[in-house]
């Protein structure tokens, strides 16, 4: 009688024993729970009626008294937040595109040995990684460029991140020299090398760096706070911040908003979290596969 071949998993690894599988399942379930439950809590709290949130002491895991959209309504009424969403979208899209162009071209230039000023330029980039100019000098530079109160003030100053340049450069350096030499023999110019050889081979790292920039632009509020005086130009995160810090000293409630129950802070805060997180969640799955690959490639070749 032939012995039954040991069951294998896809890829040929032997199937682990029952106990091992149970232990793994339990472990993974716990880990998932740790990640998922707070998130459910956030969604539930943002949708729970005011009294329930207060009764529960701030957080609700599952609303039992029906859903209540007051928190969302109070944030979205008045059009300030919707407009800020559009502005944030614009800043993120334009900012990421600009940042990618600048970072990739700079990274490429720095990756080519023998470019004029290669070394000093690389040093300059590295220095900016180590030393931060500080609040007021940055402000004065932005002011002197006449960018105050313009959305470009939020986009331009952070459009080149030294860290990302280093990552991209490392990737370009790791490209096989043979391909580039071959293209050059065929008469390709530097620009063509970059455009038709370098970039297509580096989609993974571009996606990763793009995600870094995108999330960075989406989340940033501090530059907007400093540079934009006109609050109708504020991006989403800064507008939402005014909801979160609300009530630090004397909130709006002291004006006698008695008849109209203001939703409790916690549910507003959670609704804010949802509003600011959903767009990122929508984009993330499409970039995620590049993300995993990109980080790995970077790790090996960098």
């Amino acid at each position: 009688m032939k012995a039954k071949p040991a069951p294998t998993m896809i890829g040929g690894m032997p199937m682990p024993g029952l106990t091992e599988r149970i232990v793994k399942a339990v472990f993974l379930t716990v880990v998932c729970g740790v990640v998922v439950f707070p998130f459910i809590g956030v969604i539930s709290t943002s949708l729970a009626p005011a009294e329930e949130v207060t009764k529960a002491g701030g957080f609700v895991l599952f609303p039992t008294h029906g859903l209540d959209f007051t928190a969302y309504r109070s944030i979205l009424s008045g059009g300030t937040v919707t407009q800020a969403l559009l502005i944030s979208g614009f800043v993120t899209a334009v900012g990421t595109a600009l940042a990618l162009v600048l970072t990739c071209t700079l990274g490429w230039a720095l990756s080519r040995r023998g470019t004029i000023g290669n070394r000093p330029l690389l040093l300059l980039v590295l220095i900016s990684l180590l030393f931060n100019p500080g609040l007021i000098p940055s402000y004065l530079v932005v002011q002197q460029f006449g960018l105050l109160d313009s959305l470009w003030a939020v986009i331009v100053p952070v459009s080149v991140s030294a860290f990302n340049v280093i990552v991209v450069r490392a990737f370009f350096v790791g490209l096989p020299a043979e391909i580039i030499d071959a293209a050059r023999i065929d008469g390709a110019s530097e620009w063509k090398l970059f455009r038709h050889i370098g970039l297509p081979l580096s989609k993974a790292v571009v996606a990763v760096v793009g995600l870094f920039y995108g999330v960075g632009y989406w989340n940033s509020f501090f530059n907007a706070l400093l540079y934009l005086n006109d609050s109708s130009k504020w991006p989403l995160q800064l507008v939402l911040r005014t909801y979160v810090v609300n009530g630090v000293e004397l909130g709006g409630q002291d004006l006698g908003l008695a008849g109209e129950a203001v939703p409790p802070q916690t549910s507003i805060q959670m609704a804010i979290l949802m509003i600011s997180i959903v767009p990122v969640l929508c984009v993330y799955p499409f970039i995620q596969r590049h993300f995993a690959k990109g980080v790995l490639t970077g790790a090996v070749k960098g």
């Binding site: 529960a56 300030t80 105050l148 706070l225 810090v245 000293e249 002291d254 006698g256 008849g259 109209e260």
Partner: protein, 542 residues
């Protein structure tokens, strides 16, 4: 974040207002020649500089608070509000304002009927540049460096404030000193002591935004829960207070008597001074008060016995309010200005708010609450707008129109039918009104505080009586509003260190004896220098 950061009008608010303590009638405490800067150092000159106080009497309050040093209270908005200002203050040219806010930003001008109407009534398009209060100092620092301040600006916490003001702000002395202020009757109606924050080197540089007694910290209690447990709010001694906490704590109900450590309340029982006390010409910090060991003894006992909520040191300000509102902590220490928020957050219709006055620890009478800072900030006028000083002061005067006038009604509640509805003779904001009126007006200039809780029958009287019970005997900070450069630079750091030790001792991580060492370090790290600077400034100003 430590609980101190989250307390209303804690260190944060004081620093953020910057001006509150930061600015102040510090004659000659600047680096160039302390105490020797000439004008305003002698009593005669100074009394000419200080603006005259002329109380506005056009509206009669339902409950007058003046004699108790507390705000007036109103049960209803006066039926036919007087028009207090006849001519629009504006000159048709834009007025730009740099200030902070604690509320969500308003819809933009085109979509904001309140703002449009406000501009019309002011007679100038008003452009407000708002910053969330917690970020204001950074914004202010950059705006000063980049010369981007508005025509009017609230003074943020910044090093060398007097020098900055001398360089950037208009000297308002010729316009506001003595009887000159009577041209702006509602600025003359601002409490006398609040002006400390706006006078510098013998010159007036800013108009204070008054608060005062309303920002005193007191012990709130849930009267309904006390009654249900058969407990009395009128505690006579420290011991009785501990007993009360014991009676209120019920582990089965997951109830802890106190939402946070009642540090200030216990200090009040021992009549520890409010921040500073005077010893002749010297100032002594309340940290050096000998009763602290006993204070910590009581606090440690409260913590060890589990009468303080276990999350007291982990949460935010909001969590304290939530705990009080849902009854899981029937006692909470907060400012009087939190009263309306508590009214609103109550989920139980039978809930009652009452104030527990601090007793003397040994049962020999009533303890002493600490009076809130007289002003939360000062608004200065930019040198770039020097030619329009009178217009800008008239604008601030407009914003300081007191309760009961048409101007106040419009400023706080917008237009009837659009932004508020009248209920039982009181305006109640609707959602549109709430979002559109948030132009940060109460952080530019304001009238003296008024107790007015529309839509909550009897609440104004309750709060008035509560304030009456503790404020008349409350201790004021003798150095409130006085400027010290060292304090301006180091206060936060010094306070953080001392608060950390306080927390450690209360929670039993450090022995009570650690206090003396910490205070010694506080003194040598800058506390002594601050005391010295404040004392000199005070002396020079009297």
């Amino acid at each position: 974040m430590s609980v101190y950061d989250a307390r209303p009008l804690g260190r944060r608010a004081v620093l953020a207002g910057g001006a509150a303590l930061g600015l102040a009638g510090a004659v000659g405490c600047s680096n160039d020649g302390r105490g020797a800067s000439g004008a305003g150092n002698d009593e005669a000159a100074r009394s000419k500089i200080r603006p005259a106080y002329e109380r506005y009497t056009g509206v009669k309050p339902d409950l007058a608070g003046a004699e108790y040093n507390i705000p007036d209270a109103f049960n209803k908005y006066p039926a036919d509000p007087v028009q207090a200002i006849n001519a629009a203050p504006g000159d048709g040219k834009p007025i730009t304002v740099t200030t902070y806010t604690n509320t969500p930003i308003p819809p933009k001008l085109e979509q904001n009927t309140f703002w449009q109407e406000f501009n019309k009534r002011v007679g100038s398009p008003v452009q407000v540049n708002l910053t969330p209060s917690v970020d204001y100092d950074k914004k202010f620092a950059t705006a000063v460096a980049g010369d981007q301040l508005g025509d009017l600006f609230v003074v943020g916490a910044i090093a060398q404030t007097p020098q900055m003001l001398a360089a950037k702000a208009v000297d308002l002395t010729p316009h506001l000193s003595g009887d000159n202020i009577k041209k702006y009757p509602f600025l003359a109606n601002l409490p006398e002591v609040a002006w400390n924050s706006g006078i510098f080197d013998g010159k007036i540089y800013g108009v204070p935004i008054p608060r005062g007694a309303i920002s005193s910290q007191v012990m709130y209690s849930r009267g309904d829960i006390l009654a249900a447990e058969g407990l009395q709010a009128g505690v006579k001694s420290a011991e009785e207070f501990v007993e009360l906490c014991k009676g209120l704590t019920n582990k089965k109900l997951n109830r802890f008597a106190l939402a946070s450590a009642p540090t200030q309340f216990v200090r009040n029982m021992f009549e520890i001074p409010n921040t500073w006390s005077k010893d002749g010409d010297k100032l002594v910090s309340n940290l050096e008060h000998p009763a602290h060991e006993e204070v910590f003894g009581i606090l440690q006992k409260l913590w060890k016995s589990g009468y303080i909520h276990p999350d007291a040191y982990a949460g935010q300000n909001l969590d304290l309010k939530t705990r009080f509102s849902n009854g899981s902590s029937p006692l909470v220490q907060d400012t009087f200005s939190g009263w309306p928020t508590y009214l609103q957050m109550m989920t139980d219709p039978k809930a009652e708010i009452a104030i527990i006055a601090p007793p003397k620890h040994d049962g020999s009478g009533q303890g002493k609450t600490w009076l809130g800072a007289p002003a939360i900030g000062v608004t200065a006028i930019s040198k770039k707008a020097e030619g329009r000083v009178e217009t800008l002061l008239a604008y601030l005067n407009f914003l300081a129109a007191p309760f009961g006038t048409q101007e106040y009604l419009f400023r706080k509640f917008g237009l009837a039918g659009v932004h508020h509805t009248m209920q039982n003779g009181s305006p109640v904001l609707n959602a549109k009104g709430f979002s559109e009126t948030q132009l940060g007006l109460m952080y530019q200039a304001d009238a003296p505080w008024t107790i007015f809780l529309p839509g909550k029958e009897g609440s104004a009287e309750n709060q008035f009586n509560a304030m009456k019970s503790v404020c008349p005997t409350a201790l004021a900070n003798p150095a409130a509003g006085v400027y010290s450069e060292t304090s301006n630079r180091k206060n936060k750091q010094l306070n953080d260190a001392i608060n950390q030790v306080t927390d450690d001792i209360v929670q039993g991580r450090k022995p009570v004896s650690a206090w003396a060492t910490a205070v010694k370090k506080w003194k040598s790290d800058g506390g002594d220098k601050i005391a010295e600077e404040l004392a000199q400034a005070l002396k020079a100003s009297r």
